[in-house]
Symmetry: C2
Subunit: 342 residues, 2 copies
């Protein structure tokens, strides 16, 4: 059972998710050195399917094996709590609620060693399609107010198992940072009748100084206020609020752009650890919001993928101020990556 | 020359601080493995004083050597920019300003290997006194709106040199997270005529479940919404808004509590990497604010030290939601540490 807590000072929210059957001191060794499991011990490898929780979904192969598997996370940050009321309870100056939500793992291929840049394009298309299927399904539950898909690549980026996998988390509330962003983009839309992100994209295409790649459907660029060196945004050129709205053809094209971008990162920066985040519109339903609200959300949110290489270490300055410190300007990062692509 | 940037969406502020004379690709190797310098090569060790920028301050020994040295950071995140107007300039949808501020390094002792828990108490008192002297001095400049002291211990916590040292950064604006906290605590004070943090402390002393240690002057506890496992707060028992107001006797007592707490952490968790942050009231001066504002700030802000062990890795979930995920509840952390202390 996990718990969402809110402190008395500042808008700090924490998911307290005690490690089942482990003691606090176990963190000492896992913190210092994460052991890499060999393929024969890996619970995500073919033949070890019985070592994962019961499968939620699989993309089968004609020979009875699988191409992509989806399973519940064995150590979920959020789960199906019976009293999932999604309301903070007050305890003196503090607030808490049950950790209602869901936490799934998408095993991207049977191959223990190959991640998106190394897989054939059709395999990447299968992965993107599975993302699409699971996100659509999870968004059907109105308790899942915010649904996020992410991938941690490499132990320095927080991956606890080496076998390439993505994760989907659904939270019972829209996180404060996302709420603030929504408020800002909605306000902009109401005033200007334009999506703020579309305008930002137009500016990036015009200036070109942070542009890395563009196709007929997608734009790849280094964001102006990049928190991390070589941070990358991939976004549809046309306005779409949610990834779940993308057509089969658009998803195929995304697979190619994503594979290409991650391949560029891998070859330019020696396979860096990274976090990939699919930033999608919150999951608001007609039952809890007016049609006007829904329409303004659809017009003002613009989905995108953030790729965050983990080449620097967040330290005291970042925690004390909330400022990021980035030793590589996004203009320099885009120039460097474009030069490698040629 | 560094630059503060603000993105178009969200309130994300970034310090872009290009590494002098280094190329982006240099990050690849520094990201993976930081080389530890031997003492004879260490610019912070006695005999190598000429390898640091000119000294700002030293606490001398009677034999002509030094106990504590303060120098400018060789690679400052913020510096003395001539046009330090501390105003964001607009560039289309984006905003930026010159990275005005200061960035100092405090070399805590001549000893390359000994940090606060290993040093004699008098040495720790000298360190705390140096913190006090430099913070008082830096706060005299009204351009330094926010002054923060922090220490990164261990390369996994972002320390680039092993020789124990703290850093002080002054920023030209109060960071948004600090501003939001101030607004909240000031509002609470205006409504209740009480400091919110004093009330929180009273609750912690009554319940005791997150308490680690207390003396006549200081309280040490694990905060309710701990973002990180074994996160610790040290705070004065009585209301004081700024560390710079602490008397000689109070500073002596802080040295003992800080040494004891860091020693407990070191022995209980096998010398974990950590960030230490001295959270002090922003530096607002009479020239830019009304006496009423200053009075309410002094009544509502309560200084404290945060110690953040780095045993887990921030990953996709944290970046996507802004939520922290903590596998050790603060109640469990306090119990574990207290048991080790006996």
């Amino acid at each position: 059972m996990t718990e969402l807590r809110r402190g008395a000072i500042g808008d700090r929210w924490v998911i307290v998710a005690p490690m089942r059957g482990r003691r606090p001191s176990d963190l000492i060794s896992t913190g210092e050195k994460k052991k890499e499991l060999a393929a024969d011990k890996c619970p995500f490898c073919p033949g070890n399917e019985n070592r994962t929780p019961p499968e939620i979904y699989r993309l089968p192969r004609s020979d009875g094996s699988w191409q992509v598997r989806v399973i519940p996370n064995k150590f979920p940050a959020l789960g199906d709590e019976s009293d999932g009321t999604a309301r903070f309870r007050t305890d003196g100056l503090y607030q808490h609620m049950a950790g209602q939500g869901t936490h799934e793992v998408i095993i991207e291929s049977p191959d223990h060693l190959k991640s998106i840049p190394d897989l054939p394009l059709t395999s990447v298309e299968n992965i993107i399609d599975t993302f699409h299927i699971r996100l659509q399904e999870i968004r059907k539950d109105p308790r899942h107010r915010f649904v996020v898909l992410f991938e941690n690549h490499g132990s320095k980026a927080g991956a606890s198992l080496a076998h390439p996998h993505a994760q989907i988390i659904a939270t019972p509330v829209v996180p404060p940072t996302v709420k603030a962003e929504l408020q800002q983009t909605k306000m902009h839309y109401l005033q200007e009748k334009k999506c703020l992100f579309c305008e930002l994209l137009k500016g990036e295409l015009e200036s070109g100084e942070r542009l890395i790649e563009q196709t007929d459907e997608y734009v790849v660029f280094a964001p102006y206020a990049s928190c991390f060196p070589f941070e990358i945004t991939i976004t549809p050129r046309q306005h779409v609020h949610s990834f779940t709205m993308m057509s089969t053809d658009q998803r195929k094209k995304l697979a190619a752009v994503l594979k290409g971008t991650l391949h560029l990162l891998k070859t330019s920066l020696e396979d860096p650890p990274y976090n990939l985040i699919l930033q999608d519109a919150p999951n608001v339903s007609i039952s809890s919001h007016t049609p006007d609200y829904l329409r303004s959300l659809e017009h003002s949110y613009h989905w995108r993928i953030a790729i965050i290489p983990r080449l620097t270490t967040m330290a005291g300055l970042e925690f004390a101020t909330g400022f990021c410190v980035n030793p590589v300007s996004p203009e320099e990062a885009a120039r460097f990556l474009k030069k490698q692509a040629i």
